[in-house]
């Protein structure tokens, strides 16, 4: 589904690389966790995959279902089925959640050559999806993320994911700043959307999310490189040992 080969990226031409040659393959049905200390490049990887204009890809390639992902505009990637749950979801004052979700949903339908849904029909879909994040319809009348608490913003990301049903969901530190109840709601949301033809990449600093969403593979990102890959037990090892020992591993990898 997703094939990343030797991906390098920086915050602009001439700047040092933050991603220094990442290779990763994600197959349908799989859940991958990418862990690593702060500043290792985890969020950069997530944003580059979604096409954030602040980053410049300086090398490598990314294929999504055989297509050149890096050649696509962010909205083309979204319509192709790549969804990024933002670490810091953006506020859009004045636009209701309901309107925003319908606009995005209808873009998808248009892309598939289907008719756009009117507000009433969309409401039916929305009601189902709201159950996943345990929200009432009143949240739909609030402006997108405007004045939301940190936890509400993250739940809103999961709701959007539920509505848009992406093939590949990338969750960028969706667990950070959540209390245990919110964490469970987010995890349940992700699990509810799991299907054999969909894949998930969890970008996280902590192991605790992985108690709720069991990954097929865990990768450790350190200084822009994947220095270790393994099964879910690798996450526990990281939890126990911290990240410091990785600097030696990283040196070996570079060497």
């Amino acid at each position: 589904m997703l094939e990343i080969k030797n991906l390098c990226a920086s915050i602009g031409p001439g700047e040092p690389n933050i991603l220094k040659g990442i290779s990763l393959t994600v197959n349908p049905g799989e859940v991958h966790a990418i862990m690593g200390p702060n500043g290792s490049g985890k969020s950069t990887l997530a944003q580059v995959l979604a096409g954030h204009p602040a980053y410049t890809v300086t090398g490598g390639e990314v294929r999504f279902e055989g297509e050149d992902l890096l050649d696509m505009e962010p909205e083309e990637r979204a319509l192709a089925g790549v969804f990024l749950a933002f670490q810091y979801p953006v506020e859009i004052p004045g636009i209701t959640n309901a309107y925003f979700l319908r606009a995005a949903y209808n873009e998808l339908r248009k892309g598939r050559g289907e008719e756009e849904l009117d507000p009433m029909d969309f409401l039916d879909i929305l009601e189902e999806k709201l159950k996943i994040v345990k929200w009432g319809p009143e949240m739909m009348q609030r402006a997108v993320n405007h004045g939301f608490s940190g936890g509400e913003k993250k739940r809103n990301e999961i709701l959007q994911m539920a509505v848009l049903e992406p093939k590949l969901a990338i969750l960028d530190e969706t667990d950070s700043g959540l209390d245990i109840d919110a964490l469970r709601i987010v995890a349940d949301g992700v699990n509810a959307l799991k299907r054999p033809d969909r894949a998930t990449i969890l970008v996280t600093h902590y192991q605790r999310l992985l108690n709720h969403i069991v990954p097929d593979q865990v990768h450790v990102l350190f200084d822009g490189r994947l220095v270790r890959s393994g099964g879910k037990e690798l996450a526990l090892e990281l939890e126990a040992k911290g990240y410091e020992w990785l600097s030696e591993v990283a040196e070996e990898v570079v060497a």
């Binding site: 602040a54 962010p74 909205e75 004045g94 636009i95 606009a103 873009e107």
Partner: protein
């Protein structure tokens, strides 16, 4: 500046066409004889001619206000303007079917459904083509309620006492350069009178249209809501593409007597000129309302996306105790547009309240100025004002300016002014694109969110139109 926030507008004016109906025009130029001719052609009473001539004399002594507004334009030759032109086809119509097919076609192209559908939609339309009214509808139903809604010329003929009583009572003949000019040479406009205690059951709507090349437009609108009456009035504008600047100097006067409410909504989309700003409309309008009676209310809502230059300050004189003035505005300056707009709230009566919400959007090389005055006079005890003035900039070749004047002469009053400037954030656009919206839809969504507080003041149908217009006005402003 970010890469996705920099390319310029490049859009043909959607309503760019000219209808070739032969016009009955006087030669260009202005003098007393031209004014007498206009008055005669319109069959006006002596007092109105005298009134026009007094305005003309006042105008001759005035200077064009070039210095203070934040706008620049080449000098206007007032002797090169045609002050009167009427479509030849004008004659009393038995029904709409008798309307010139060409005119009907023009209206259809503009999407003005002066027809069954519009009637079913409950909107009475008084369409103005150039300077003379050619069709008025739904009049009978309104007539049963005692509501007068007609062209200004007709009001002069049929209801001279009302016109004489209120004309110039809010905007005097010597008020300002453009208002005086209008008073001297106005050719037509709309008149509304809602009698005591009557709630006008539908939004009254007039579509203005500039058509004749080189014809200045001098519309005159007078709306009077008698005690306890309510009325909502919609003004929508569009004009064909011209390569010559056209002057528009309208005057709108509103009078709200005790307990009356007038809501006046405008969507203005006149031709803004090409990318270099050539050929756009000069829109120098005087709009003012007087809350003459206690507990009266006047509310202005405007969406200004067109014109090369907009100079417009819909104002409210809050004379009656407990009267309320409101101003909600969205102004877009794109390409080379210059908008200098705002309001004046003059608090005279006790416990008078005013609210000002202004949203200015600057893109391309546009310059948007908010200019407002809140004046609380000594007797206006416990007067209250809240002003919020927000600017949004798209790209860094545009400008946003705010000039709020606050003059308070009563200590028991409370006046609050807030202003902010924002840009469309790169992160906002990326977020929306990640959810599948293209850049233009993303911009449109952010801008509509920014303007929401104003749009919610518009009648439903108008609000939808305004949102679309905003999207179209900003098309291509972000690459």
């Amino acid at each position: 500046m970010s890469s996705s926030v920099e390319s310029l507008v490049n859009r043909e004016y959607k309503h760019g066409f000219v209808t070739d109906i032969e016009s009955d025009s006087v030669p260009p130029g202005l003098n007393e004889d031209v004014i007498r001719l206009i008055s005669e052609k319109k069959g006006e009473p002596e007092w109105l001619l005298e009134w026009r001539l007094r305005a003309y004399k006042a105008w001759l002594k005035m200077e064009e206000p070039h210095a203070w507004a934040n706008i620049t334009y080449p000098p206007i030759d007032y002797q090169d303007i045609v002050y009167y032109s009427a479509p030849k086809t004008v004659k009393p119509l038995g029904s709409l079917d008798e309307l010139d097919p060409k005119l009907r076609e023009t209206y259809d192209k503009l999407g003005i459904p002066l027809n069954e559908q519009k009637l079913l939609a409950g909107v009475a339309v008084d369409a103005i083509f150039d300077s003379v009214s050619v069709g008025t509808s739904y009049k009978e139903h309104l007539g049963e309620l005692g509501i007068i809604f007609c062209s200004f010329s007709e009001a002069v003929r049929e209801h001279p006492a009302l016109v004489q009583k209120y004309l110039g009572s809010v905007v005097p003949i010597s008020d300002n350069f453009y208002a005086s000019l209008n008073s001297a040479v106005f050719t037509d406009g709309s008149f509304v009178y809602v009698p005591k205690g009557v709630h006008c059951p539908m939004d009254l709507s007039t579509y203005f249209r500039i058509n004749q090349a080189g014809t200045g437009q001098f519309e005159r609108t007078l709306i009077v809501a008698d005690e306890g009456a309510t009325v909502s009035y919609l003004e929508g504008c569009t004009a064909p593409a011209r390569d010559e600047n056209q002057l528009h100097a309208a005057v709108v006067e509103l009078v709200a007597l005790e307990g009356a409410t007038i809501k006046y909504s405008t969507v203005q989309n006149w031709y803004a000129g090409d990318e270099e700003g050539v050929g756009g409309i000069y829109n120098f309008v005087t709009k003012r309302g007087k809350c003459a009676g206690a507990r009266s209310k006047i509310s202005w809502t405007q969406v200004e996306t067109g014109s090369a230059i907009t100079w417009k300050y819909p104002s409210v004189i809050l004379q009656g105790d407990d009267s309320v003035g409101e101003f909600y505005s969205v102004a877009v300056a794109n390409g080379r547009q210059q908008a200098d707009t705002g309001t004046k709230m003059i608090h005279l009566g006790r416990r008078t309240r005013s609210t000002i919400i202004s949203k200015g959007i600057s893109a391309g090389r546009g310059n948007n100025s908010y200019r407002g005055q809140v004046k609380v006079m000594p007797k206006a005890e416990r007067a209250w004002n809240y002003t919020q003035c927000d600017s949004m900039l798209i790209g860094n070749r545009c400008g946003a300016h705010t000039f709020p004047y606050i003059d308070v002469q009563n200590r028991s009053s409370a006046v609050e002014h807030e202003a902010s400037t924002t840009k469309i954030g790169e992160d906002q656009i990326f977020y929306l694109k990640q959810r599948g919206l293209n850049t233009e839809n993303a911009i449109s969504m952010i801008v509509n969110g920014f303007c929401k507080e104003v749009f919610k003041e518009l009648p439903m149908e108008f609000a939808v139109e305004a949102q679309k217009l905003l999207g179209v006005s900003l098309e291509g402003s972000v690459g």
